[in-house]
């Protein structure tokens, strides 16, 4: 039964090639658009999510406060109010998983013939834990390195590439501000941060080394900012309160006085960015989905014309014994073929377009099987849905009315 019906549908569709092609084109464009938009949206989402993940989870950044000197108010971090003592006190809070002080500064690094200007970060071993950062080679420095302020360094991928090229960096001596440092580890690649900075363009040294030997701050033992990690996402709010309380107490601030530090919830910021990307991805998909409905309406329109044109034919078929469901199936089959073939071509064009967009504009695209399958199923469903009404209209014709139709 299905065999002759498929042949029949093919016959009818090839009798109106241009019309069939144009109807299919509607489906092709809509499915292609959905897949392309989803790929681009997901790509953007993926990029943001990766940046968020590279930051580390449940993170607080505690900045030392601003200072006012002669009426000139300097920005946050200008006055060195945070100390290593603060770091130790924070580490003892029950909801803190890890905490790391940071003393950042710029420096020129030299290895052999090569030199490279980068950011040098003085910190403790727990920085790697806080930032969820792995090593590709070598070992991290230890607490004893921090205690004795040894000249050791962990270098980022970008630094390694610029100084060493293809050479193995671990075990080599580099010069930071003229002094020799031993490279003991190579940090894993982290990629771009949310604001587009290259996180791999950095060097980590023990915090004490940075304080005493590299940057020689005017106030011994102070740090620029502290990174702290809470134990769980639910503990974030409580931890933020506890941090404020603890530091105000340690800094002997009176009730009502401004804090000389600020606590920032980095994860909240990151999550907002991720959420924005997700919504953008959804919106792209939703807008493209509208074209699916338009494509479906195209099918319905053509099928209605087809039913009207072929009313007599329907009458003849009924007169020789076609049942309602035979007629229904015949027209539904045509709608299904148009939408399924249109969808298949649309999938090919959509995936191809996404790959092309990736090649030409270097936009990140993510094509998931589920989005392709979903676009295909939805579009095919739309075709069947919009094909059903005309097919049903044809099937419900009275034989005599169909035969008499001029």
């Amino acid at each position: 039964m299905i065999g002759p019906m498929l042949a029949e549908a093919w016959h009818a569709m090839s009798a109106n090639r241009l019309r069939t092609f144009l109807t299919m084109l509607g489906m092709v464009i809509s499915v292609g658009a959905v897949i392309l938009m989803l790929a681009i949206g997901r790509g953007a989402q993926f990029q943001v999510e990766q940046s968020v993940a590279s930051l580390g989870s449940n993170l607080f950044m505690i900045l030392s406060g601003s200072s006012t000197a002669g009426g000139v108010r300097l920005g946050g971090g200008a006055a060195p109010t945070l100390t290593l003592g603060d770091v130790q006190a924070i580490a003892e809070l029950p909801t803190i998983a890890a905490v790391a002080p940071t003393v950042p500064g710029g420096a020129q690094i030299v290895y052999g013939q090569n030199n490279w200007g980068t950011q040098v970060l003085g910190t403790t071993p727990s920085y790697l834990e806080v930032r969820d950062w792995q090593l590709d080679a070598g070992y991290p420095f230890t607490d004893s390195d921090v205690r004795s302020a040894t000249r050791v360094a962990l270098i980022g991928q970008t630094v390694a590439k610029n100084l060493f090229g293809e050479e193995e960096p671990v075990g080599k001596m580099i010069r930071i501000k003229q002094s020799p440092y031993l490279v003991i580890g190579l940090l894993a690649a982290k990629g771009q941060s949310l604001d587009g900075r290259d996180q791999d363009d950095t060097i980590l040294v023990p915090v004490t080394t940075a304080q005493r030997k590299l940057f020689g701050t005017q106030f011994q033992g102070t740090v620029r900012y502290i990174m702290a990690q809470a134990t769980a996402p639910e503990a974030m709010a409580g931890t933020e309160r506890a941090l404020n309380q603890l530091l105000r107490q340690r800094h002997h601030l009176q009730e009502g006085a401004d804090s000389d530090f600020s606590v920032r919830n980095l994860t909240a910021v990151a999550n907002t960015a991720a959420e924005t990307a997700r919504i953008m991805s959804l919106m792209l998909g939703a807008i493209a989905s509208i074209s699916l409905v338009v494509g479906g309406i195209g099918i319905m329109n053509i099928m209605l014309v087809s039913v009207t044109e072929r009313t007599r034919e329907i009458g003849i078929r009924m007169a020789v014994g076609a049942r309602q469901r035979d007629i229904l199936l015949q027209f539904l089959l045509e709608a299904i073929i148009i939408s399924v073939v249109g969808c298949l071509v649309g999938v090919i064009l959509g995936v191809g377009g996404a790959v092309l967009a990736n090649k030409i504009t270097e936009t990140a695209v993510v094509i998931t099987l589920s989005s392709v399958v979903m676009a295909f199923l939805v579009a095919a469903g739309v075709g069947v849905f919009f094909g059903f009404y005309p097919a049903n209209k044809a099937a419900r014709l009275k034989p005599i009315d169909a035969l008499r139709y001029q």
């Binding site: 002759p4 003849i316 007169a319 020789v320 014994g321 076609a322 009275k398």
Partner: protein, 238 residues
Amino acid sequence: MSPDAVIRVERLCKQYETAAGAVPALKDVSLTIAPGEFVAVMGPSGSGKSTFMNILGCLDTPTSGSYVLNGKDVGTLNSDQLAQLRNKVIGFVFQGFNLLPRANLEDNVALPLVYRGVKKTMAATQAREMLEKVGLKGYRNSMSNQISGGQQQRAAIARALVNRPRLILADEPTGNLDTATSREIMNLFTRLNKEDGITILLVTHERDIAAYAKRLVQFVDGRVVHDGAVTHLEAAPA
């Protein structure tokens, strides 16, 4: 009135609803047709004979009255069962042939078999047999709109015969054909009636066509005004 009548209609009425009100097309028509009869239905235009044929062919439904076809009360059947009757019991032949224009003769003749669920190769074989029977042996691949009217009507008759129906209903089958071709078609009907015992009901308004039949039913204004053997033809008003 044998109990195994092919057709038995009683007090059949049909009204058409128009903007000007209900227009009666059939008024209280009662008729019985036994197996193997060859009946000509005559009457002026608008006398209701085509309406009558359409109801007999299960293409249209009566407003009131009963119609028993092949022992089944047609009024109680659903659309699928009616489709089955049209498929298996009745072969309909139209004035305008009503072949599918985009299909060749073999596919046209095989169409009722397709709706009966017969396998494609089997259907093709049977369709070829029927084409041969109506004298269209070499035409199975011809497109239906590229042959003469007489050939088209033969193909339509082959299509009507392919499911071996008990009854053939022909609504002015020679209306679009010239005299010589009409004669060939009528000879074909006569042969089917005689040799295969198929009951034939034929609407015409030409006396010499009606003369091929054995029984004549005449309609005027939706009523049967004459029902008798064809020998009364000369005496009957046209």
